[in-house]
Amino acid sequence: MTAALAERPAPTAPRPGDPRRAMLALARTEGVRLLRHPAVIAGLLLFTGPEIYRWLTGRANRFPVLSDEDWSTQFLALLVLGGGALIAANLAALRADRHATTGLYDTLVLPPAWRTGAFLLAVLPFTVLVAVLTATRIALLAALPGSAGRPDPAELALHPAVVLLFGAAGVLLAGLVRTVIVAPLLLLAAAVAVYAAGLSSLPGHVRWLLPVALEQPPMPVPVALTSRPSGRHLAYVAGLIALVALAALVAAGARNRRLVMAGAAALSVTAGAGAAQYLPVSDAVRDARATAAERPAEMQDCRSIGSVTYCAFGGFEPWTGGWDAVVRGVLRAVPAEAAGQPFVIRQRVSTDDRMLDGRVVTAEEQAAAAAEWQRIEPGAVTVGTRWGDGRSEMSLAGLVAYQVVTHESAPAHIPVCGARGVLVAWLAGQATPATAAGLRAVDATSWGGVPFGDMQFPVGFSVPDREMAAASALLRRPPGDVATTVARSWAELTAAGTSADRAGELLGVPVPPLPPVEERTRCDG
């Protein structure tokens, strides 16, 4: 405050009764202090640090889905950036009280309500910084050659909006409760509420009334299929910001007609936008979802490379090159006559969460769902809307290998045993370094067998541990040598009745003995 007064240029002293300039001067000083506050700096480091670390160590996903990336960092922004703004703004507004200098401030030109206004305005520079940070992050992601989809500006704008809301809440709390413990507790309670409302096992109506609506969608979807009411939610949060700021001014003693009118306007925006979030999903989105499920070809562009046709949803075309590298990797290792058959790799989405807790699916239902899935385009290999994580690569490689080996469409998550299992797992693992890494990662965390294919899709299969052990032994050998041996015994290895032990003999790898009866996988194949 003293600094702000000292900075005021002497010749143009403010007119008595116009505290606006003093408020702006205080806001400038407090804005800089807020940016330098340890809680804000720690928040910025926690927000950016882990992501920068991932990029530096090469663990970041180079195939981001922008329509997912735009909102998936909102909870973190609430926790660390909003939390930093909340604590720093609260401590700043309580500074006079903490230092027992409140009485001295009565001698200054700025009435309490205007001081509160200055503290509210002081959150703006940090808000702008967060907006720049969010925009830079998404621009860098969009510049990646493998980025898919497009970001929603309203989802991006929610990051700075949440920071502004929490900063204003910090100022309001300082006016209501003169204890510094309340701000961290509010942050914690808000984080728990947002997280709990986002759990898919709970009804999700409350989540849109919280500052950030956390969701756990089964998979990213093309932009035309997204149903998050992002624009209305941003308007709702903007209304909340106005309400909180006005409440802070009123708590500081401001009383006039303009405040009442602004309050009424903010309340109507908040209530209107809050209610509008619950409007049913628009017909266009519902139609697009039905089309994507029933007739995906209508929403896709296809591209043929050799004998393989790749069909991707709009926005996902940059991934066909990556898909092709994996498919080529599988086909390279099989005899020419098997590799030459035409393939269709079709991108599919599932908006129905098949992994909900407590959802029981019988084998018959599973098989019916798989048959329904294949009915749309028999023979097409399914690829999802995730890529670049190793698992997606290994799943696509596995499904292609299954089709090459068995000439059948992917089954309903049944185990693939015997020589076919060994061969499919080896073909998938040797395709590219990414599929090898994905196979190792899944093998390390799975029990009983290694699953191929996204569990959110009804199609996929698993290779039991015994077959997987033989395939792992094969993967440790030079791929060229194994491919020659495989080509020599192709007919026997791909026959349905050939056992894993026989495959071990043909390929010269040890196959572990059969486990005790109670631990064996039931083999349908």
Binding site: A39, L46, P184, A189
Partner: protein, 217 residues
């Protein structure tokens, strides 16, 4: 001199209880109880992982409350009284620790499902967070009057940082994970380190203290 001070410890407990700023702790303890009580009251079906998450959130509340408990506006003016700072802190700890333990027991009771949950591990996490809060507060009190306003944000930063570190060093691991034991060794190390720092920070920060003490003795 020193023996007399130690003998004064039991006499200090009641005044220490009166002088402790309880408001912050009670507010934090209340929020912590609410976090576990709301799902219990509404009988929401939660997984073991979600229940552990609730306990962890409650533990953060408890640590936030503890962060303020060493604050003493009179600390500077009584630096010269015969009862030294370590003894005053010991008296405070004699009040604070049973209160915090009782609160945590209440939190665990309300959460229920004791047989399913890894209560020991979660308790170590809670103790470590509380100890870090007290340690940061005590260090801050060596140079200022308000330990809590530094210790409370420090606890939050620690919690968020702990949940974002790379997987092989993870502190917050889901129950049943194979890294659970290793993660809790790290929590125990953090607890031990925080206790050591608290003990160090409890010594009165006076320059050339040893020579002064010799003169007084």
């Amino acid at each position: 001199m020193r023996r007399m001070s130690v003998r004064a410890l039991p006499l200090l407990v009641l005044p220490a209880a009166r002088a402790t700023p309880w408001t912050a702790f009670l507010a934090a303890a209340g929020v912590g109880l609410a976090i576990v009580a709301v799902p219990a009251v509404f009988r929401v079906e939660l997984t073991v992982e979600d229940l552990v998450g609730l306990l962890r959130a409650a533990a953060v509340c408890g640590a936030l409350g503890l962060a303020f408990l060493l604050d003493d506006p009179a600390a500077r003016t009584i630096a010269t009284v015969p009862t030294p700072r370590p003894l005053r802190y010991a008296a405070r700890a004699g009040v604070i620790l049973p209160a915090a333990a009782a609160w945590w027991a209440l939190v665990l009771t309300i959460t229920g499902h004791g047989a399913l949950l890894p209560l020991g591990g979660v308790t170590v996490e809670a103790a470590a967070l509380g100890a870090v809060a007290l340690a940061v507060g005590a260090v801050r009190l060596r140079s200022g009057d308000n330990g809590g306003i530094v210790a409370a944000p420090a606890v939050l930063v620690l919690v968020v940082a702990a949940s974002r570190i790379p997987p092989h060093l993870a502190l917050y691991v889901p129950p049943g994970d194979e890294r659970w034991a290793a993660a809790h060794h790290r929590w125990a190390a953090l607890l031990a380190a925080a206790v050591l720092v608290s003990v160090w920070a409890a010594v009165e920060p006076v320059r050339a203290r040893s020579s002064m003490m010799t003169e007084i003795d």
